[in-house]
Amino acid sequence: MTTNTFPALSLVPKADGPQSAKDFKSDQEVRWCPGCGDYAILSAVQSFLPDLGVARENIVFVSGIGCSSRFPYYLDTFGLHSIHGRAPAIATGLASSRPDLSVWVITGDGDALSIGGNHLIHALRRNVNLKILLFNNRIYGLTKGQYSPTSEQGKITKSTPEGSLDYSFNPVSLALGAEATFVARTIDSDRKHLTEVLTAAAAHEGTALIEIYQNCNIFNDGAWEPLKDSDTRDDTMMRLVHGQPIRFGKDMQFGVTRAVEGHIKVVEVSSVGEEAILRHDAHAKDPGLAFALSRLANPRTLQNTPIGVFRDVERPSYDRLLREQVASVTEKKGKGDLQSLLNGNDTWNVS
């Protein structure tokens, strides 16, 4: 792997030699429930990390609290399992002060969007060099089954026997609204797609938010089933590919077009003609179309759910700007001299 593939990792030391997925497996027994979607993500990440080509000791995984946040224990990198919702804040301090590290945040829908919502949006707008993997299973797992900020309204759970009253967050819409420079969505069971998205995120300088639709087979089994079932998925889900027309369906019969009123909508391609189908532009400066795409899905039926990279644009990362400011002030004023600082500008002598 060269620095050209992952410009965001140009300051991170390279691995001495080739690495394998095995190198990234820790000696800890994995303790998720059998059948949990987290296993697939862990396996995909362990296989993907060698591709980065960076020294294992320069990779850090920071997590919050929740089932997904146990993730760092199972990777043989540096790992920090912190407190509920705060992983983006902790990772911000680490990434800002250590440009030689590749810093990853593991979080869930409760951790990132409920208790940690504030840290998530501010990390995104600052564009700190972090890659945030948000495991979204639309439920609280570790506390045994309460509704989460991404649960569909009306959800019956232990804490909402009559149905939840809250309207849900759409994490991709939220991230785009929070000035994120990289926003993507993928699915735990689609290893190839998951790996592609991780690769794109790793190459991005700044904060990347990757929402991973993840199945909790204990408390919310089948939450993403329409996107996974081979009978339904092709007609339900669209794959966004930069530069390609946005089309989906078993026979690619559906596409996204702009209506005369200005909004976008899903249509049968034959009804409007191929030239009317929008092409996906992940690098568009304006996030408007990415946002519109994030609104297409029906939160209840999941019809018209896009996956892939919604947005991937360049903006200097916070940590780069911080380093540059320190460097430019140091160049202007000269390296600080402690004695002069202590003396200050207004002294007198007593003899």
Partner: protein, 620 residues
């Protein structure tokens, strides 16, 4: 006509005016000139939380008190000898503190019917007999300033605003302060606005000339320089001193300084100060909230920085969970709490010492942390270095308990020689520290140093030391997750023992008892050092014996504290809370404590404390 010159040994001046009148600036300038003259001094700004309360009202009054003398002094003074009142509100708010016979300089222009009514004066106190007890100097400061600035290219409003410089000029004449520093200051401050600069300089000079020529002031005062140890001095305020201490600690340890902070009164000035010194490699991060402030600092500490978060009491409450995580992760982290009046929002701009128990116990579980408290504005510098030493050597969060009075108060400071400051080493882990049964070399993140009980600080990027840690209980030594009951019991005790072990590196507490015969000890902590010391002097001057000791390390306590407490018949502990240190002392040492408490948002007055001491002495 040459005026009479009277020599004084000390003076307490209070400048009081509307929040927009520039009283803090006036006080700062007078202080700076006074410091340069070699007087010892101590200052106390007292301002409202509102940035600009309605003009002319009591809530909008801002004051600055300065005590300066030809000998060493310990407090900003109990009561002013001179009150400068820029409007009726300033007079009304401050008159109660003015002793009979004191000088009172009032700006008559502001004593209009409307302004008098605003603060409930039914008649003009300058004209009736209500100020007969004072030596009143009625001066039309505003109109004379405007008159002096005729012909200057400034608006009437800007001319009126320069009245604080007119007042400063007058006071500088009255107390024979030099002008050069103030003139240089004005030239630099208003460099981009030459008209404003010229107007302020002219106003200052007009105030000075008015003093020299008017018959309203017949006497000019001189206060000789104080005898102080030889060396280079500067005046310093607590928050900047603390900031310099943090930068020094960064240099002394070779660790980059990282501050994660959220703005809060009265701690924000530390963020402001540190953000000015990026050429020392200082990284400052203004976070989205208090929790992110400490979170980012903790992340930086994990990465090997000297990490700091700065806040006040309400912010500490928000940071509690993250402090607990730092206790569990055993990483170096400085938590600066510039205490203010509480609970809740409380008194944001006033001082209090009521966060001691929050610092000690304000977390879930057994979560001990070290606590250091500076005793004066300049001592904030040394307290910061000491706290950083403890944090780094013991891999622990350390509280620095400053307060609003220390933060904004100032005093002359004998500038230390940077080359004599104590260095300390991070000693990062560099390789395996344990051999497994099969001979494999391993790294155990919780294998402790037998002397300090500190764990290794193994920062990311160190080959072979990859490990995972978190807030879940860890197995002793190996550091993997452990829910084992015996292990948890052991880890809780180890974390406590580590904090207790810090006492071995803390200097013994020293008692000041010139007589060697005192039966009563006054024991304090934090910013009460000055008022307690001044009170002890008053008592001794009156012929009685009293001992003073001050606690700098509040957790763990110095090793000889038990012995000291048992050496006196009575121990008085004055605190600006309801007895928090007293509670700790009673609990730990089973000694009786006379707890004397005030929570008025202001430092103790020394004559009041002297009265408390005298009462106890007489009861023996």
């Amino acid at each position: 006509m040459a005026k009479q010159v009277v020599k004084l040994s000390k003076v307490v001046i209070r400048f009081a005016g509307d929040s927009g009148d520039g009283m803090q600036l006036t006080g700062d300038r007078f202080t700076s000139e006074t410091a340069g003259l070699g007087n010892d001094l101590s200052t106390l700004p007292d301002f409202p939380a509102e940035i600009r309360a309605p003009a002319g009202t009591l809530p909008g009054v801002s004051a600055f008190q300065l005590h300066f003398a030809d000998h060493d002094i310990m407090t900003p003074g109990d009561a002013p000898n001179v009150l400068v009142a820029m409007n009726p509100a300033a007079l009304k708010a401050n008159l109660k503190d003015l002793p009979r016979g004191a000088d009172l300089i009032v700006n008559t222009d502001e004593f209009t019917k409307r302004n008098l009514e605003k603060v409930g004066y039914s008649s003009n106190p300058i004209e009736d007999d209500s100020l007969d007890a004072y030596n009143v100097h009625a001066v039309a400061l505003t109109s004379m300033t405007v008159e002096a600035l005729k012909g200057f290219a400034v608006s009437k409003k800007d001319a009126e605003r320069a009245k604080n410089m007119y007042a400063l000029g007058l006071l500088c004449w009255l107390y024979n302060r030099p002008s050069q520093g103030t003139l240089d200051f004005l030239r630099s401050k208003f460099a981009s606005k030459p008209d404003i600069m010229n107007a302020n300089i002219a106003a200052y000079e007009a105030g000075w000339s008015f003093g020299e020529t008017t018959e309203a002031f017949s006497v000019q005062y001189e206060i000789a320089p104080a005898t102080m140890p030889a060396g280079l001095y500067r005046n310093i305020t607590g928050n900047p001193a603390l900031s310099l201490g943090l930068i020094a600690a960064s240099e002394l340890s070779g660790l980059p300084l990282f501050l994660g902070s959220y703005p809060i009164t009265p701690a924000s000035d530390i963020l402001h100060e540190l953000s000015k010194h990026k050429n020392f490699g200082v990284m400052t991060f203004q976070a989205e909230d208090e929790i992110a402030g400490i979170g980012a600092a903790l992340g930086a500490a994990y990465g090997g920085a000297l990490a700091v978060t700065t806040t006040s009491g309400p912010g500490v409450a928000l940071k509690s969970e993250a402090i607990g995580l730092a206790v569990s992760l055993e990483l170096p982290l400085l938590i600066v709490d510039v205490q203010r009046g509480g609970p809740s929002t409380g008194l944001p701009t006033k001082t209090e010492q009521s966060d001691l128990l929050q610092a000690m116990f304000g977390r879930n579980g057994e979560a001990p942390v070290a606590i250091v408290a500076p005793q004066s504005p300049s001592d904030c510098f040394f307290a910061a270095i000491e706290a950083a030493r403890i944090a780094v050597e013991y891999r622990t969060p350390v509280f620095i308990l400053s307060d609003g009075y220390l933060a904004n108060g100032s005093e002359p400071w004998l500038v230390p020689d940077a080359s004599t400051l104590p260095t300390f080493e991070p000693n990062f882990a560099t390789g395996p520290n344990h051999t497994a049964a099969d001979g494999t070399e391993e790294f155990w993140p919780y294998l402790r140093d037998p002397e300090t009980l500190a764990r290794p600080w193994a920062i990311p990027g160190t080959k072979g030391l990859e490990h995972r840690i978190g807030g879940i209980e860890k197995a002793d030594g190996i550091g993997t997750i452990s829910y084992d009951p015996d292990n948890h019991d052991k880890m809780v005790r180890l974390r406590q023992a580590k904090i207790d072990a810090i006492a071995r590196t803390i200097p013994d507490i020293k008692v000041d008892d010139p007589s060697g015969e005192a039966g009563v000890l006054i024991l304090g902590w934090g910013s009460t050092f000055g008022p307690i010391g001044a009170a002890c002097r008053l008592v001794r001057t009156a012929g009685a014996n009293v001992a003073q000791a001050h606690i700098r390390h509040l957790n763990p306590f110095p090793s000889n504290l038990a012995e000291i407490l048992r050496g006196y018949d009575k121990v008085i502990v004055p605190e600006m809370n309801l007895g928090q240190l007293a509670l700790l002392l009673r609990a730990k040492y089973l000694v009786d404590i006379i707890s004397y408490n005030q929570v008025r948002g202001m430092p103790f007055k020394s004559d009041e404390l002297a009265g408390v001491i005298t009462d106890v002495l007489e009861s023996l």
